[in-house]
C-alpha cells in the first residue's frame, strides 16, 4: 500500500467517525477529556476480593493459583529456590535440566548446590523445563506477571513443557491496577515493556466437545515458587 492511499484511508476513517459523532476533532474540551484520561488513567471499580495485606494476600494468591490448576510451593529465601525446583522436577519424574534467562535474581541463586543442569538464554523449542522470575503476582486471580527482556525471554514462557515461575511474596499485588502502577514506576509513564505476559495456570483447551484438557500449546504444567513473606 502506498503512503498516499494509507494517509487517505486514515483521513477517511477519522473524518467519517467525526461526521458520525458530529465533531471536528479540534474541540478543546473533548481533547482535554481524552488527554486527562490518558495521563491520569483513573482506576475504575476494583473488586474487594484482592484487598488484603501480608500473609492473607499471599494466601489468596496461592488459593487462586491452585484453583487455576497451577502447583505452588513456598520457600523462606531465594537461596532455597533451587532446591525446591530440583525437588519439584524429581517428584514429577522430569529430567533435571532447566533453561532460564539472565535475571540477576535467578543468577544469584545457588544452583550449583543442586544436581540441576542449567542452561541460559531464549528457548529454541528443545527445552523441557523453563524457569522465569515474575515481575509481580496478582492475588485477585492467582495471576503471574512476566515482562519480556533478556532477563526473562518470552519464549521460555511458552515453549517448554513445564514452566516454573519464581515470584517474591513482596511483589504479589492486590490487583492488576497495582501492577500497572509498578510498571509505570519501572518503565515510565505511558511506556510498556515489549511484552507483559499475565499467566493464570497452565495451558488448556476446551475446543473438543467443550471438555477442558490441559497442555494445549503452552506449558502442560505451571509450578509457582513463592519466595519469602509479604
Amino acid at each position: 500500500m502506498s503512503e498516499t492511499s494509507m494517509t487517505s484511508a486514515r483521513d477517511d476513517i477519522l473524518s467519517t467517525i467525526r461526521r458520525s459523532l458530529g465533531v471536528t476533532g479540534r474541540e478543546a474540551p473533548r481533547r482535554g477529556v481524552v488527554e486527562g484520561r490518558l495521563s491520569g488513567h483513573p482506576r475504575g471499580l476494583v473488586p474487594q476480593r484482592g484487598q488484603l495485606d501480608g500473609a492473607d494476600r499471599v494466601a489468596l494468591f496461592k488459593a487462586q493459583a491452585l484453583g487455576a490448576l497451577a502447583t505452588v510451593a513456598e520457600v523462606a529465601s531465594p537461596a532455597e529456590a533451587p532446591a525446591e525446583i530440583a525437588r519439584y522436577l524429581r517428584e514429577a519424574n522430569l529430567p533435571a535440566t532447566i533453561r532460564m534467562g539472565a535475571d540477576p535474581r535467578l543468577a544469584a541463586m545457588p544452583w550449583a548446590s543442586t544436581a540441576l543442569d542449567v542452561s541460559r538464554g531464549a528457548s529454541q523449542g528443545r527445552d523441557l523445563n523453563g524457569v522465569s522470575h515474575a515481575f509481580a503476582g496478582v492475588a485477585e486471580t492467582g495471576t503471574l506477571v512476566l515482562t519480556a527482556s533478556a532477563d526473562n525471554p518470552t519464549t521460555l514462557n511458552f515453549l517448554p513443557d513445564n514452566h516454573i515461575i519464581v515470584v517474591d511474596a513482596q511483589d504479589i499485588d492486590r490487583d492488576y491496577e497495582s501492577v500497572w502502577d509498578a510498571v509505570r514506576v519501572k518503565f515510565g509513564a505511558g511506556a510498556m515493556p515489549r511484552v507483559v505476559n499475565m499467566v493464570t495456570g497452565p495451558s488448556r483447551s476446551g475446543d473438543i466437545e467443550q471438555q477442558m484438557q490441559l497442555g494445549a500449546h503452552g506449558p502442560r504444567n505451571l509450578h509457582i515458587v513463592i519466595v519469602g513473606t509479604a
Partner: protein, 473 residues
C-alpha cells in the same frame, strides 16, 4: 468479503441444521457447557453486575471519543517502533497484510484466532498470494482441515464431535502411525500440539487478532487459554495484529476492568490463562520476539455505525455469552446464520456488514426472550437492536407480502381500541367454542407453521385485556 454469505437462505440452513443428528449431538455440549460456568463465575464476584455497568461506560466513553483515542493509539504504536495501517474495507486490509508478507518473502503464516480475519476472508487472500495460512487455535485448526468456517466466535469447532475430529486427523496426519489411538480428546489435543509445534517454529509471519488496543501505551492485547497466540506472535520475524477500530480502550486500567468481565462471560474463568500485552517489535538487548510489528486497523463500516441506532453494538467485546444463552443458537448452531458472526450479536452485526437485504432473516430469527441482553457484559440491548432491523426491513419493503398484510391488519385494529376489544373477544369465544371438549387445536388455518409441530392451546377465560382489568381491579 471473500466469504460468500448464505444468510439469505437462513430458513433452509436452519431446517437442515435441525435435522442434522451429528450437529444436534454436538450442540448438547454447548448448552451444557457454558451457561452454568458463567453463572458460577458471576456469582463468585460480588461486584460483577457493577463491573458490567463500568464496562459499558468505558466502551461508551471510548466510542464518543474514538477519533482522538485512535490518533493517540497510532502515535504510541509508531513511537514504539511499530506500524499502523488504517484500512477502509476488507480488500484494503488483505492487501496490507499481503504486502507485509511479500516484503519479508514469507511463505507461511501462523495465525491466532481472529474473527476480523474471518470478516476479511484473509485465509483465501493469503492462499491466493502464495502465503500458506496455518490456523493454530485447536478449534480453528480443526475447521481449517475441514474447509469450514467457525460456528462460534470463541469455540469455533463446537459444532463437531470428537469422532469427527478423529476422522479429520486420520485423513490429514497421514505421516503418523495409522494404528494409534486418538479416540479421546486428550490424545487429539496432544497430536495437534505436536503437529503444530513444527509449524510455529517454521513460520515466517505470525498473525493474531486483538481483544483490546490500548491508546495510553500503543499496546495490543490477546487473550487465550492455549498459548497458541503467543507462540504465533513470538517466534516468527513479524507480528501482524489485525483489529477493528472499536477495539480501542483508553488505558491499562480500563483494559483491566474489561478483562474482569470478558473471561467470566465467555468461559466462566476468573481470568483466561494467557493475557498478553504487546507493544512494538523486538528491542535492543531482547533475545527473542518479532523484529517487525504491524497493526492493521479495519473500519469496514463501523465508523458509520457511530451515532446511529446501532452504535451500541460497537461495545461488543466478542465474549460469546449471547450465543451461549440463545435458544435459537442452541437449536441451529452457528453455521445456519450464514456468515461470520452467529447468535444474537451476529443477528445485529451481520445486516450492518452485508446489508439488511441479505441479512434480514437473522433479526427475525429471535423470540426476543431477552437472555442475550441479560448476560451481555457490556449491556448491549440486543433485542432492541434486532427490532430496529425489523423496522428498517419493513420500511424498505423487504419483508414478505403476507407478513406485511398481517401487520397492516393488526395495525388497523390496534389503532381502534374499541374494535380491537370487540374482535379479540369474539375471536376468543369462537376459538373456545370450536375447541370445545379438547381444549386445543391440532390443525388451524393460517397457523400450520405452529400446528404442524405442536398443538395450539385453545383460549380459556377472558381476553388478556379483560384479565388485566380484573386482576388490577
Amino acid at each position: 468479503m471473500s466469504l460468500h454469505p448464505t444468510t439469505p437462505q437462513f430458513k433452509d440452513n436452519a431446517h437442515r441444521a435441525l435435522g442434522d443428528a451429528q450437529l444436534q449431538k454436538a450442540l448438547v455440549n454447548v448448552r451444557a457447557g457454558f451457561m452454568d460456568k458463567r453463572a458460577a463465575a458471576a456469582a463468585r464476584l460480588p461486584e460483577f453486575e457493577a463491573l458490567r455497568d463500568s464496562a459499558r461506560d468505558i466502551k461508551n466513553h471510548t466510542l464518543a471519543h474514538l477519533d482522538l483515542y485512535l490518533e493517540a493509539y497510532a502515535a504510541k504504536v509508531e513511537a514504539s517502533g511499530g506500524h499502523v495501517h488504517f484500512c477502509r474495507d476488507a480488500a484494503e486490509a488483505n492487501k496490507a497484510v499481503i504486502d507485509i508478507c511479500k516484503s519479508l518473502g514469507a511463505k507461511t503464516a501462523t495465525k491466532g484466532k481472529s474473527m476480523i480475519s474471518e470478516e476479511m476472508g484473509l485465509n483465501d487472500a493469503l492462499d491466493a498470494a502464495g502465503v500458506k495460512p496455518i490456523e493454530t487455535d485447536l478449534g480453528e485448526y480443526i475447521i481449517q482441515l475441514r474447509g469450514e468456517t467457525p460456528s462460534h466466535i470463541i469455540a469455533p469447532a463446537c459444532h463437531l464431535t470428537k469422532d469427527q475430529v478423529e476422522g479429520d486427523f486420520r485423513r490429514v496426519h497421514t505421516h503418523l502411525d495409522a494404528a494409534r489411538d486418538i479416540s479421546q480428546p486428550p490424545q487429539l489435543l496432544a497430536e495437534a500440539r505436536a503437529v503444530l509445534r513444527e509449524k510455529f517454529l517454521a513460520a515466517d509471519v505470525g498473525i493474531t487478532g486483538a481483544n483490546f488496543l490500548i491508546a495510553e501505551t500503543g499496546t495490543s492485547i490477546i487473550v487465550t487459554n492455549e498459548g497458541n497466540g503467543d507462540l504465533t506472535q513470538t517466534l516468527p520475524k513479524a507480528h501482524i495484529v489485525i483489529a477493528s477500530i472499536e477495539k480501542i480502550v483508553p488505558t491499562l486500567e480500563d483494559a483491566s476492568q474489561l478483562l474482569r468481565v470478558l473471561a467470566r462471560s465467555a468461559t466462566g474463568q476468573d481470568m483466561s490463562v494467557y493475557t498478553t500485552f504487546s507493544t512494538g517489535p523486538r528491542r535492543p538487548g531482547d533475545v527473542d520476539g518479532p523484529e517487525h510489528y504491524h497493526v492493521i486497523l479495519l473500519d469496514n463500516g463501523r465508523s458509520s455505525m457511530l451515532g446511529s441506532e446501532f452504535e451500541d453494538m460497537l461495545r461488543c467485546i466478542r465474549c460469546g455469552a449471547c450465543m451461549n444463552h440463545c435458544p435459537v443458537y442452541h437449536a441451529v448452531g452457528g453455521h445456519a446464520y450464514g456468515w461470520v458472526y452467529p447468535g444474537p450479536m451476529g443477528s445485529v452485526l451481520t445486516p450492518t456488514l452485508i446489508g439488511v437485504d441479505k441479512g434480514g432473516h437473522l433479526p427475525n430469527a429471535s423470540t426476543f426472550c431477552g437472555r442475550c441482553e441479560s448476560v451481555c457484559p457490556v449491556r448491549i440491548p440486543l433485542p432492541k437492536l434486532m427490532r430496529h432491523w425489523r423496522e428498517r426491513e419493513f420500511e424498505r419493503h423487504l419483508s414478505p407480502a403476507t407478513q406485511r398484510k398481517g401487520l397492516g391488519l393488526w395495525a388497523f385494529f390496534a389503532k381502534r381500541p374499541g374494535l380491537y376489544r370487540f374482535a379479540t373477544n369474539l375471536g376468543m369465544k369462537a376459538m373456545a367454542l370450536a375447541a370445545r371438549g379438547k381444549g386445543k387445536f391440532s390443525r388451524m388455518p393460517l397457523a400450520s407453521g405452529w400446528t404442524d409441530y405442536r398443538d395450539l392451546p385453545a383460549p380459556q377465560g377472558g381476553t388478556f385485556q379483560q384479565q388485566w382489568k380484573q386482576k388490577r381491579g
